[in-house]
């Protein structure tokens, strides 16, 4: 009895995992034609948080280090960008590169002591970090203090990173999101991706197989920090204002982690799925529930996190994967049964 082996070398263009993203990409490119104004702003937020979630994923979903400090990298990216522009008159794009470099170095410096910490110690350290950074900026008059910084309005141009309509901003963040997705796919199919996953599963066994834990974790941290800084730079040039409370908000770190976890830790499309749900939820509750909404969306976040933690730690993508696995298994059993029946007949 022979088993048919699929020729896996041939790329099937009708494969759903190629078709769906392709269609999604086309839709994403056409979005500004379809919606505008506040709704476009919401989509921009969604893409922003999806990118941040993807960055979180590299550290948390792949390498297994739960960070609640990602708002710090984001906020620092914003601040460095703004300060470069205001103090030195540096071009916003150059400032973006500078902020990515500085935050990259910062994330590595933070990682070195923090990675010696286990699980919850690490999470606590990231919380403490956020508080420290926030306090520093609140008490730093040159960086705007508690009031914050305004980016001066300049002539509209790509060079100045200032536009009249939201549409150019949209395409910029879309490119950043696509970049983060490409990086995620690249990580997944690279040696470091395997090493990240190994470290997450079992650090001790990983050591025995020659994996340098510190170096690998720092790489994840660095990538994560740099990406967040990029998005932070985008954000500050989009809204032209930052303040310490808003930028380093602990709840933002929570949102980012929640988006990655809910979508599915370690998955490529988890962050965008998680972001769509969370951002729609948070904007929705803000509009429709008014003042009380502020508390209520935390209630919902909290419930979601608890439910996911208890019932489906794999997030939505995880649920989808185990569903498809069960179907495949069932199909195989039917096929095998059929072969058995044939051989009896």
């Amino acid at each position: 009895m022979e088993m048919k082996i699929k020729n896996s070398k041939r790329i099937n263009l009708l494969n759903p995992s190629i078709i769906i993203p392709a269609v999604a990409l086309i839709i994403l490119l056409l979005i500004p034609k379809l919606i505008s104004g506040y709704f476009l702003h919401t989509v921009i937020l969604i893409l922003m948080y999806a990118t941040l979630g993807a960055a979180w994923n590299w550290l948390g979903g792949f390498a297994g280090q739960i960070s609640l400090a990602h708002a710090v990298f984001f906020g620092l990216g914003s601040y460095v960008n703004a300060c470069c522009q205001i103090w030195f008159g540096i071009n916003p794009w150059v400032a973006m590169v500078i902020s990515m470099i500085i935050v990259g170095v910062f994330s590595v410096l933070i990682g070195i002591p923090c990675f010696r910490l286990k699980g919850h110690y690490f999470a606590i350290a990231t919380i403490a970090l956020g508080e420290i950074i926030k306090t520093i900026f609140v008490n730093w008059p040159a960086a705007g203090g508690a009031i914050g910084l305004y980016i001066p309005i300049k002539d509209i141009s790509l060079k100045n990173f200032q536009f009249y309509s939201k549409i150019p901003y949209y395409y910029i963040i879309l490119m950043m999101y696509i970049l983060s997705t490409i990086i995620t796919i690249w990580i997944k199919n690279s040696r470091n991706g395997y090493y990240f996953r190994a470290i997450k599963e079992d650090p001790e066994a990983s050591k025995a197989l020659g994996i340098d834990l510190v170096k690998t974790k720092l790489l994840a941290m660095w990538l994560s920090g740099v990406m967040c800084a990029m998005v932070g730079s985008f954000y500050v040039n989009y809204v032209l204002y930052i303040d310490p409370e808003g930028s380093f908000l602990f709840m933002n770190s929570v949102k980012i982690a929640l988006i990655a976890v809910m979508g599915g830790m370690g998955s490529v499309f988890g962050p965008i799925i998680g972001s769509i749900i969370i951002i729609l939820l948070s904007e929705g509750s803000r509009i429709y529930l008014g003042g009380m909404g502020a508390g209520l969306d935390f209630v919902i976040y909290g419930l979601l996190i608890m439910i996911i933690a208890v019932y489906q730690p794999g997030g939505i993508v995880g649920a989808f994967n185990s569903y498809t696995k069960k179907r495949k298994k069932a199909k195989r059993q039917i096929v095998n049964q059929g072969i058995q029946n044939d051989s009896i007949a």
């Binding site: 606590i124 403490a128 508080e131 420290i132 935390f298 909290g302």
Partner: protein, 288 residues
């Protein structure tokens, strides 16, 4: 000059005692079952709001309603274990972190939704003003709160080390399987740990309601501080928590006075970082 210093120092010590009490519950839960309760600070919030409600609805001063508040919060802790924690005992560390994390956000949101974000305070508390010893003035409610804290800490410590149930708790924290094989009802011990842990915070919250502002995020600050305290002292170590709590209270108040109030907590968090780099397991914690 030295009088002022003594006053500030004592103020820090008093603050520290309260931190010890709050963190006691956290380290107990962690010691027994290896779970870091990120919602710990929000149990404090619940305690304070409970005391507030009793004051508002029944005119009971927090000092009077303290036993009830403690009981309620302790019960809440047990319920949280039963409904939530029980299900993630065998899940990954990540799931455990997330579950208490979600609880924290849930409680915070709930309090805000129910009571609004406004700051509340008890009107006409029983304890007001200060005790004066020579030229040193110590706030009455703070003194009472610290006395309450020390007493509660001592009771808990004696309970853990001198009673059979306390030994059972210790056994479970050493080796869950062995304890269960020796006939110790592990589930009951877990419920007890959560109940006592929460009750500690309940006492602290009830006492603090006498003089502190009550708002939905109040737990955030003290929660963070309690994590720092426990991590500094070493997860699972009661003596460690005692030392760390005092250290943090003193650092906060002394540092805040001599440097700047804005940098109070900066110092505390930085202290955490410094210690954690030199000694990752905390002052009295067990090495991984």
């Amino acid at each position: 000059m030295s009088n002022i210093f003594l006053q500030i120092l004592l103020g820090g010590v008093l603050t520290g005692f309260v931190y010890v009490l709050i963190s006691l519950g956290l380290t107990l839960i962690f010691g027994v079952m290896d779970i870091c309760n990120f919602a710990h600070g929000d149990f404090l919030t619940i305690a304070m709001y409970a005391a507030f409600c009793f004051s508002l609805w029944f005119g009971l001063d927090p000092i009077i309603s303290l036993p009830i508040v403690t009981l309620l919060v302790g019960l809440f802790g047990a319920i949280v274990y039963w409904l939530l924690i029980r299900h993630v005992l065998n899940s990954s560390g990540m799931a455990q972190i997330f579950v208490t994390f979600g609880l924290m956000i849930f409680i915070r949101g709930m309090m805000q939704a129910l009571f609004s974000a406004n700051y509340r305070k008890i009107t006409n508390p029983l304890l007001e003003g200060s005790f004066t010893f020579g030229s040193i003035a110590l706030s009455k409610p703070q003194v009472v709160a610290s006395i309450g804290a020390i007493t509660a800490t001592l009771i808990i410590y004696l309970f853990i080390t001198k009673t059979r149930t306390g030994w059972a708790l210790q056994a479970v924290s050493e080796n869950r399987q062995a304890a269960s094989l020796m006939g110790i009802p592990v589930q009951k011990m877990f419920i007890l740990a959560w109940a006592i842990g929460a009750a500690c915070v309940g006492i602290a919250g009830g006492l603090m309601a006498e003089y502190y502002y009550i708002y939905p995020e109040v737990g955030a600050l003290f929660g963070s501080l309690s994590f720092i305290t426990v991590a500094l002292g070493g997860f699972g170590s009661i003596p460690g928590v005692f030392i760390a709590g005092l250290l943090i209270g003193i650092t906060e108040v002394v540092g805040g006075f001599y440097l700047s109030p804005a940098y109070k907590y900066l110092l505390v968090y930085s202290l955490y970082f410094v210690v954690i780099v030199i000694r990752p397991q905390g002052i009295l914690g067990k090495k991984a």
